[in-house]
Amino acid sequence: MSEIIQSSAPVIQYPSLEKNSLDIREFKNIFLTIMVWGIAIMASIPLFSVISMLIIEGGARIDFAALTEIPPAGFEMGGGFGNAIIGTLVMVGIASLISIPFGIMAALHLAILDPNSKVATVSRFLAKVLTGFPSILAGIFVYGVIVITTGTYSAWAGGVALAVLMLPTVTLAAEEAMKQVPQRMKDAAFGMGCTRTQVIMKVVLPTGLPGILTGVILAVAGAAGESAPLLFTALFSNYYMAELAEPTASLSILIYNFSGMPFDNQIELAWSASLVLVVLVLLFNILARLVGRSKFKE
């Protein structure tokens, strides 16, 4: 009985569905997966080694004194870089006060008022060129324009140099954010009886605000880490700033100066200052991500 069934039923040969690591396709798959992971890990080694070095070397010297005292001279022990933190914040503040209003108004012109005019086309092109502008040239420009004419290195000059670097970034980011505001929302505002100013103030700017702020904060973060434009505009100072028209310390120049010195104390301080600078920039980046989230999403 059983023999008859066996012979009458057709025997179907199903292909094996099990994984076979000797198969050439499976081998390629494993190989490429390892490649991708390996290269990704290699690419992040510099980042993580820098950050771990910063935390180990810089973290060792971070204390209240380091954050508040003025830099030590020569063989002195102790000291800190409080003046450099203040200097960096003040100069970035000056740069923001200049570049944000100018940048946003330029963006308004590029995105809303007259997007296709010759002036707009040329200034958009120049802004794009300026984003790739070597930052040391911004320093030279401001050295010629402000330092030579006023006769002194100053926080003003440093701030203006940073503003030159921030301006194109702010402008292009703000233009992009304003262009993202849909035409139908602008139509709605015109249809309600808004003047062009009201359309900009009540609809375009509030709707584009998260994008604009993200661009602004990223520009601020970039400026905070710059050293080249400050080299011969703000120079450096070993003391807390008393006024804006005098040479001023900054974190990045302090790192540059101290890391080349033959004294262990200064080198340790340079590490700590680097850590503070990275944390500062990181905070700005996190802030940019937080405000980048729109409150009223679709």
């Binding site: 849909p182 139908r184 139509d187 249809g191 309600m192 009886g193 409150k295 999403k297």
Partner: protein
């Protein structure tokens, strides 16, 4: 029935309004640059009625509608030749400020376009724009109720206007447009992006709205015109001479247009022979 102008072009028989006219629209020519978009159309918008605009694509329905609150001024090449009388003012007069015109003649667009603000702020937008001194909340609630969306949103006035569904967004836009109590409401295919249920809600709303406002409605849907419009204007487009210039073919009570049209073109269009 047919009258001819001295240029030999067809001009529709003048429609005699039966009630008071709020917006007396006499288009001689509308140009975009060198392109003549609409010619010789007299379309009065009557008070507390829904005036429907039907016609094939490219006949200039939306162009005429958008001319009625000077939205087309935002297009550089636009040129309007004619007059639109609104309370003894020609809104194309030299001294007229288009911004002010738009505050009295509101507009609802084809795609729902709420602002990225809360539902409440969307409706209050026009009131704040006009510096309204009274009870803002009362006006917002009234507008939302009139736009038949109050029950949907009363518990979430602080939510984003963009979080609503398409039909709700469109009713929110209607609420926003009527919050400032405009005289005339221009609606440019307000249901074309909506599903059938939302369309029905908006249509019912239009019929209710005419109690307080005068409505001009552009629609691509003839059934919608029969359901909603009291008066219907049929615009055609003359392609025989190589142009794409739209013009008024016939305007009359809606039932007359659909049951007993006088022009051959109208008959063909409502029979669905072209669109």
């Amino acid at each position: 029935m047919t009258s001819l102008s001295d240029t030999g072009e067809f001009i529709a028989k003048k429609y005699e309004p039966k009630g008071p006219v709020v917006l007396d629209c006499q288009v001689n020519n509308i140009y975009y640059g060198d392109f003549r978009a609409v010619r010789d159309s007299h379309i009065p918008i009557e008070k507390n009625k829904v005036t429907g605009f039907i016609g094939p694509s490219g006949c200039g329905k939306s162009t005429v509608l958008r001319s009625m609150n000077r939205m087309n001024d935002l297009i550089d090449s636009f040129r309007f030749d004619g007059s639109i009388q609104y309370h003894s003012n020609d809104i194309y007069g030299k001294k007229i400020d288009p911004v002010v015109v738009r505050r009295y003649i509101g507009m609802v667009f084809q795609l729902p376009n709420p602002f990225s603000m809360s539902i409440y702020d969307n409706v209050a937008f026009g009131l704040r724009l006009n510096g309204y001194k009274g009870d803002e909340e009362e006006m917002v609630v009234k507008a939302l109720k009139r736009a038949a969306i109050w029950d949907d949103v009363k518990d979430k006035l602080k939510n984003s206007g963009l979080s609503l569904s398409g039909g709700q967004q469109q009713r929110l836009c209607i609420a926003r447009a009527i919050a400032t109590e405009p005289d005339v409401l221009l609606m440019d295919e307000p249901c074309s992006a909506l599903d059938p249920i939302a369309t029905r809600q908006v249509e019912e709303l239009m019929v209710e709205l005419k109690e307080h406002y005068s409505v001009a409605l552009v629609t691509h849907n003839m059934q919608q015109a029969t359901r909603v419009a009291d008066v219907t204007a049929f615009l055609g487009v003359d392609i025989s001479k190589g142009g794409r210039t739209g013009y008024l073919v016939e305007m009359d009570d809606t039932h007359k247009i659909f049951e007993d049209p006088q022009q051959k073109l109208t008959q063909q269009y409502i029979r669905g022979e072209f669109s």
